[in-house]
């Protein structure tokens, strides 16, 4: 995608420092980023127990890579349909359950996978977080 089309959140300068979701060295974007401290995390070279999950990869341009792009369908409610009346705005409330990133489809254990960025295990986390969204209300 040419730079002219990378505006707003897609602008590589959109975020500062750790919040940055642009991936420079293997050009693309980070879809899911989670970092923190945990007693279960393996000790790193800096002597801290920090876990880092940066999940990206879109399938590659010229050379095929892992594709972690997920398209998900969310059921709106138990009722069969939702109607929009008289151009009134409809509020769809979506909850994200972060625990699903660890248990959604396969198990992610911080002790076993302390840092995941581009390894094949990224696909497991992507399958997990794809299950984290749920519609909890329609008003």
């Amino acid at each position: 995608m040419p730079l002219a089309n990378r505006k707003g959140v897609l602008d590589p300068a959109a975020y500062k420092g750790d919040e940055n979701m642009y991936w420079g060295w293997n050009t693309g974007y980070i879809f899911f980023k989670m970092e923190g401290q945990s007693d279960s995390a393996q000790l790193n070279k800096a002597g801290t127990r920090k876990y880092m999950y940066h999940i990206g990869l879109y399938g590659g341009m010229n050379t095929p890579t892992i594709n972690n792009i997920k398209q998900i369908d969310l059921a709106l409610s138990d009722k069969s349909s939702v109607r929009v009346k008289n151009n009134k705005p409809l509020l769809v409330e979506i909850n994200a359950d972060i625990m699903q990133a660890f248990t959604g489809a396969g198990d992610l254990k911080i002790a076993e996978h302390t840092v995941v960025m581009v390894s094949p295990f990224s696909a497991v986390i992507a399958n997990n977080y794809a299950k984290m969204f749920k519609v909890v209300g329609v008003k």
Binding site: P2, L3, A4, R6, D11, P12, A13, A14, Y15, K16, G17, N20, Y22, G24, W25, N26, T27, G60, M61, N62, T63, P64, T65, I66, V118, S119, P120
Partner: protein, 324 residues
């Protein structure tokens, strides 16, 4: 009859002017050497202008691109060494931090399909983001760079001259750098003079070297760019090797230890060699390949003569490319 001639002449002149105008709009200052293929970079999408090129040059030599305002692109890409970091095996960032790979030359980038040793970048306009943000190089964020340039007295006006408004954003910053970098064309070595049949001829040794080169080296280092823009192992990896190269990008086991094949233009100026700068002298590199391909001493001698013919003095002495 005279009138018709005049009319014809007028039409020809109008077409001629239109042709010049459209050529200027399409390619700007950029001229592709006749013996080179079509550039990969979309020159039409960002045609170098005089103002854009000068802005790009100023940015290339701008140390405020780094976190502590100490190093610029030009710090590690020295013109006299064909825009490599002479004498440095690994790239050298702020606070004396060292990267893991050797700074490659900046030349003929308009023809690259891939950038960086691992080919992780596919668009020249996105390449500068890596050295700017890498903690072992300039360790700066793009948004901070933009803030610094916006606060400067000169830059807003220079961006206006180049791109029509004083606004400074990622796109303009990168496009200005690209305008400078695509203009860094090296196509005037002795090799080129010989190929252009301009009266210059190879010596007997250079000629013998070219024959050996074509037989042994040219499937990877394809003339006239002297690279195939593909990835290969060079047989120098050991079990202790820590850099997986192209594998880091594709996660394909077959890509382990593969790196982008570098161009050999100006190779006599770009020591040290290989992705990690492990070979200090060209003779070390030639010795490596001598063993690999079981070549004779005389073959290596001729090959070296040929490689000398790839040095482009005009390129490394062109004042347009120097820090002003």
């Amino acid at each position: 009859m005279l009138k018709a001639n005049k009319l014809f002449l007028g039409i020809v002149i109008v077409f001629f002017i239109l042709a010049i105008l459209s050529w200027n709009i399409e390619g700007g200052l950029f001229v592709s050497p006749p013996h080179f293929p079509k550039p990969t970079y979309s020159i039409e999408g960002n045609p170098p202008t005089s103002a854009g090129f000068k802005l790009g040059r100023k940015l290339f030599y701008e140390s405020r691109l780094s976190a502590d305002n100490t190093i610029s692109c030009g710090s590690c890409h020295n013109q006299f060494a064909a825009f490599t970091h002479h004498g440095h095996d690994l790239s050298h960032g702020i606070y004396d931090r060292l990267g893991k790979r050797n700074a490659p030359p900046i030349m003929n980038l308009a023809w690259n399909k891939y950038f960086m040793w691992d080919g992780g970048v596919l668009d020249l306009d996105l390449q500068p983001i890596i050295p700017i943000t890498d903690s072992n190089e300039m360790n700066e964020s793009l948004s901070c760079v933009l803030d610094k340039l916006k606060a400067d007295k000169e830059y807003p006006q220079l961006f206006k001259e180049a791109f029509g408004s004083t606004e400074i954003n990622t796109e303009k910053l990168m496009k200005a750098l690209s305008q400078f970098m695509v203009m860094l064309v090296s196509a005037n070595a002795k090799y080129d003079s010989v190929k252009r049949q301009s009266g210059v001829v190879f010596t007997a040794e250079e000629k013998a070297g070219e024959v050996i080169f074509i037989q042994t080296c040219s499937s990877c280092h394809v003339p006239p760019l002297f690279t195939s823009d593909k990835f290969a192992t060079n047989g120098i990896l050991s079990q202790q090797e820590v850099d997986n190269g192209r594998f880091d990008i594709t996660l394909d086991e077959n890509d382990k230890g593969k790196f982008r094949i570098p161009s050999l233009r100006n190779v006599m100026l770009t020591a040290p060699y290989m992705h990690d700068g492990r070979f200090r002298e060209i003779d070390d590199v030639l010795l490596h390949y001598k063993k690999k391909y079981n070549m004779s001493d005389s073959s290596i001698h001729y090959l070296k003569s040929f490689l000398h013919s790839l040095t482009d003095q005009d390129f490394i002495n062109d004042v347009r490319f120097s820090e002003q």
